[in-house]
């Protein structure tokens, strides 16, 4: 069992969730409620990582944030190390790759709140911020939790983008999915099987938890 790889995957998943919680809510609310020109294209952009091969996404991320690019150079001069092939680079790739997994369930959750309910909150004297905290967030919460669980589980299993953007540096960018690939390449069937079964169990638990939550909320609200 490659514990450092597992820990790194958990850390990457946790940070991805931490970043995508506010970002996802911000984007999801805008798409759910605002009518603006080009909305369809924004939705398409959000969904793009779902259909794009991870290697293609990884390639473009490398092209944008590699050491030779302005962003890569700026990062290097600010922090003294490269963005690509680092944990931060990995995190950035993971955030981009997980946008649809975070935004789409949140968007559906916000869309399911009737306009009248928010308007009733405003007419009750509640500020937009208070309406968000007291009304929108509790009502959208099941969707938000689903989004975060999916994002976490998906990051745990992500391979292509992580390999392209982070490489395979043990302790720095080697996640559990890459470690499994590594073990298979090295004909270590036992190591690969142990880690694979762990990832399988984890994913099943995560998805199961989402469905259980959805069912329970559905019964309570129904």
């Amino acid at each position: 069992m490659n514990w450092p790889a597992l820990l790194l995957s958990l850390k990457l998943s946790a940070w991805t969730v931490v970043w995508l919680l506010p970002l996802g809510i911000l984007v999801a609310r805008q798409i759910a409620w605002r009518e603006f020109p080009g909305r369809a294209w924004v939705e398409a952009l959000v969904a793009l990582p779902l259909v794009l091969p991870p290697t293609v996404l990884g390639y473009y991320l490398l092209s944008a944030f590699g050491g030779a690019t302005p962003i890569g150079q700026a990062w290097h001069s600010a922090f003294g190390r490269p963005l690509a092939f680092s944990f931060e680079g990995l995190l950035l790739a993971s955030i981009v790759f997980n946008i649809p997994f975070a935004v789409q369930p949140m968007q559906r959750a916000f869309q399911s709140i009737p306009d009248e309910v928010r308007e009733a909150a405003w007419c009750s004297g509640m500020s937009h911020w208070r309406t968000f905290l007291m009304i929108e967030l509790p009502l959208a919460w099941p969707g938000i939790v689903s989004a975060l669980v999916l994002t976490f589980a998906h990051t745990m299993g992500e391979f292509g983008v992580v390999l392209m953007m982070g490489g395979n540096i043990p302790g720095e960018t080697q996640t559990i999915a890459i470690a499994i690939y590594d073990r298979v390449q090295a004909f270590d069937e036992h190591g690969a099987a142990t880690m694979s079964s762990l990832l399988l169990a984890f994913s099943l638990l995560a998805i199961g938890a989402v469905y259980m939550l959805a069912n329970r909320i559905g019964r309570r609200r129904g």
Binding site: P114, E116, V117, E119, A120, A121, W122, C123, S124, G125, M126, S127, R130, M134, I135, P138, L139, R221, G222
Partner: protein, 384 residues
């Protein structure tokens, strides 16, 4: 007109929904906005609440200006002292009835909210159901929570958007009665949006008749119902007995205007606005058409006697709706309503020839409508 504690509304825009509405509602007064679907009633309510933004307009309440497009004033809903009951109540589904009401008390000290919310729920007869969530309440109970929540803000105006449309008939009657009782306790302007004429007639002090966002008539409910300003208003008020005629003579001394209609000369209450020879539209409510007894002529028989064939005779519970075919020159339908037992005693059946009196006091004259003649060629609808 100007009422320092009242609500003044004047709205105008061309798109997306045309608006040309102007009315006021005094303190403690209930004004009904009445009109068909798409007449802009709800949009007007939303403009008052600050949820919609008209092209031009002024909304002021109790001296506070909430909207004045000319001066660039357009307060947010939070800054307008408005209590609103939405058509589908829009309760917060994750909060109990008690917390729904407390949520609208941001202006009250935190320690006083719980007690005040309980009082309001008691006022709307929901004591004992405070901890129930909206899904655990019936439609009528949800409506009461919505009303309590609207009142929780101590609003300067209460807005009701078709609040009785989503409940059954029995509950509707009870809620309407409760609203009428509640009015004595909340002395604020109340605006009721409804497409139900009976509801408006029963509850409202005054009516504003709207069509395509435009105010067609405003006035006391009874007056608007009996004396529509135009044939269009009469049609919106479901007045089926709408005809065209011309003024034969004016007799101010006798308080009469004589009217030519078909082969008949009718007496109407004196209507000085029209000159001799003027074409007019005129209407008579079905309850002002009186059937003559066949066996014994009544005293009122001399007043505007008209004869016709019974075309339809439909018993609707205690009253029976009758449509007469008034003959020459063209076949014209005249609707009336009589007690069902009366219809039975007279053995009225389709095809019978009967005589009726058109009460002169019930005949109301209006300017002729361009579309009226078109409508008269169509089959009549039964009176509502």
């Amino acid at each position: 007109m100007a009422d320092p504690a009242g609500l003044e509304v004047s709205l105008r825009q061309a798109a997306p929904i045309p608006l040309a509405a102007r009315f006021h509602c005094g303190r403690g007064e209930l004004v009904a906005l009445v009109g068909p679907s798409g007449s802009g009633k709800s949009t007007i309510l939303r403009c008052i609440a600050g949820l919609a933004h008209p092209g031009e307009g002024v909304v002021s309440c109790a001296g506070d200006v909430w909207l004045d497009t000319a001066r660039g004033i357009d307060l947010a809903p939070q800054q307008r002292s408005v209590g609103i009951v939405f058509q589908h109540y829009a309760l917060f589904p994750h909060l109990s009835a008690h917390k729904n009401v407390m949520a609208a008390m941001t202006h009250v000290a935190a320690g006083e909210r719980a007690g005040r919310a309980r009082e309001l729920l008691q006022l709307v007869h929901l004591s004992g159901l405070e901890e129930r969530h909206p899904r655990q309440l019936s439609g009528g109970q949800q409506q009461r929570v919505a009303l309590a929540r609207a009142l929780a803000r101590d609003p300067a105006v209460l807005l009701l958007d078709e609040p009785f449309s989503a409940v059954d008939r029995v509950t509707r009657r009870r809620l309407q009665r409760e609203l009428a009782q509640l009015r004595s306790r909340i002395r604020v302007p109340i605006i009721l949006v409804t497409h139900d004429l009976d509801e408006a007639r029963v509850l409202a002090d005054r009516m504003v008749i709207l069509s395509h966002g435009e105010t067609l008539q405003e006035g006391p409910s009874a007056q608007v119902m009996a004396r529509p300003a135009t044939a269009q208003v009469a049609r919106l008020l479901d007045q089926n007995n709408l005809f065209e005629g011309s003024v034969l003579s004016q007799r101010p001394d006798e308080g009469k205007t004589l009217l030519t209609w078909s082969d008949y000369t009718l007496e109407a209450a004196y209507a000085p606005a029209f000159g001799v020879g003027d074409k007019v539209a005129w209407m008579i409510p079905p309850e002002c058409v009186i059937l003559h007894r066949r066996d014994r002529p009544s005293a009122g028989e001399a007043e505007n006697p008209v004869s016709g064939l019974i075309r339809e005779c439909v018993p609707l519970g205690e009253s029976t709706s009758i449509v007469l075919d008034i003959g020459a020159p063209a076949s014209v339908p005249l609707a009336m309503s009589i007690a069902t037992h009366h219809a039975r005693r007279n053995k009225l059946v389709v095809g019978d020839q009967v005589k009726v009196t058109l009460l002169a006091s019930g005949i109301h004259l209006m300017p002729p409508a361009e579309l009226l003649s078109e409508r008269l060629t169509q089959a009549p609808a039964l009176p509502g």
